[in-house]
Symmetry: D2
Subunit: 129 residues, 4 copies
DNA sequence: TTTT
DNA sequence: TTTT
């Protein structure tokens, strides 16, 4: 079992990219509030969604929206530019529930097909946050 | 809500340190297995426990033991030696259940009071993993 | 581990009672929606909160409000009037988060101290739903 | 969200039945222990699994085995023989992890196809616990 | 009806 | 740095 459940608000619009094989990947962060030491604090937690879920997130979520995310915790390692090994920890979303009324958003969220620009295409499973 | 539930095995004995104010902090990692692409993979997830829970983890857990951890996901930022901002993501344990029989361990786990050596004392909440 | 996490709306105002020893007990149900067979269905799930949490629920929640409940699943047996053994299954709340803006409620929720009426006082842990 | 996570031991071998349309349904209870009032108590929680999961449960689980169950809480109403409405509350398993070593069981678990006896066939979704 |  |  590897289960994560988070309630928070998007800190920015989701960014939707596509892998070389055409799989959609949405990235965003949520701020999860908690009280500690008498004052409100926030954890900023990176979320990643894949395929169909990535697309619905890209189409429906915008900065500030509140979501309930269910997923699993993923830790990946990669070699940084300076040759050092670095870790990327993120929550891979399995389900996302939208918790406030649709704010008939003027700025349509993310969902940019980067393939159409021929850049920012990542190899499979190799997307640094 | 910020909830994490993980089932896995310790990759090493817990390390128990003490903050300057005397609070115990246990650190360990667990390997959480999952099947993906037809084969078994593992996520190695850093766990931190505080105070009384830190001490019971240090006294009872050893490398290889299977645990069910309930906690919250914490993301801290700190300035690295190279001046860069780096992130530490870890699960702050709130409850730990031991899932296999006590392997009447010869090597008693961790629980070294580093204060008695006058080193490795960290300021509160400033313990890099 | 006995963990339940539910997102739903109160089907009625909470009812707050007091045990003979003076412990507050709030009871309410939430409707948890889900899609099944192409249409929306609801599970109506009985929730019980104790002591301080009972009082904050009684003071802050009203019918229709959306909550995120964390608790444990409890199954109690009792003898019914017809001599038959019956089971009561309910979620004992450990934490309740309010998910929509305070609807400056006209009808203040529950919180009736039944001791002041000398009735409906239940023996400890013996409150049928 | 309707999420239940339970760690417990089977109180009996699972019983596997089949609906008229041929869907497998496994039923069993697990004892979930907890400390309360200085002593160990147990909640006995009814679990139901459907289809492929029902079959793997029937084939692999026996009384006494420890499992980690993830599922959702379901509340169904039905008319009892005495004309009264009665409620059935159970956890519908979505995933079951086996937590102790296979006890190379002599008595192979459940999995009796009751259709071969022409009895105990229940209409869809109408299986009283 | 109850598990270890 | 990695568990079974």
């Amino acid at each position: 079992m590897n289960k994560v459940i988070l309630l928070g608000r998007l800190t920015r619009d989701p960014e939707v990219r596509y892998t070389q094989s055409g799989k959609a990947v949405a990235s965003f962060s949520i701020a999860v509030n908690r009280f500690a030491g008498g004052q409100e604090q926030a954890d900023f937690i990176p979320i990643v969604a894949w395929e169909k879920l990535a697309e619905t997130c890209g189409n429906n979520l915008t900065k500030g929206r509140r979501v309930l995310v269910e997923g699993r915790l993923s830790v990946r390692s990669y070699e940084a530019n300076d040759g050092q090994k670095r870790r990327v920890t993120e929550v891979v979303a399995q389900n996302v529930e939208y918790l406030d009324s649709r704010q008939t958003s003027g700025t349509e969220a993310g969902n940019i097909d980067i393939n159409s620009f021929g850049k920012d295409v990542f190899p499979e499973e190799e997307i640094p946050f």
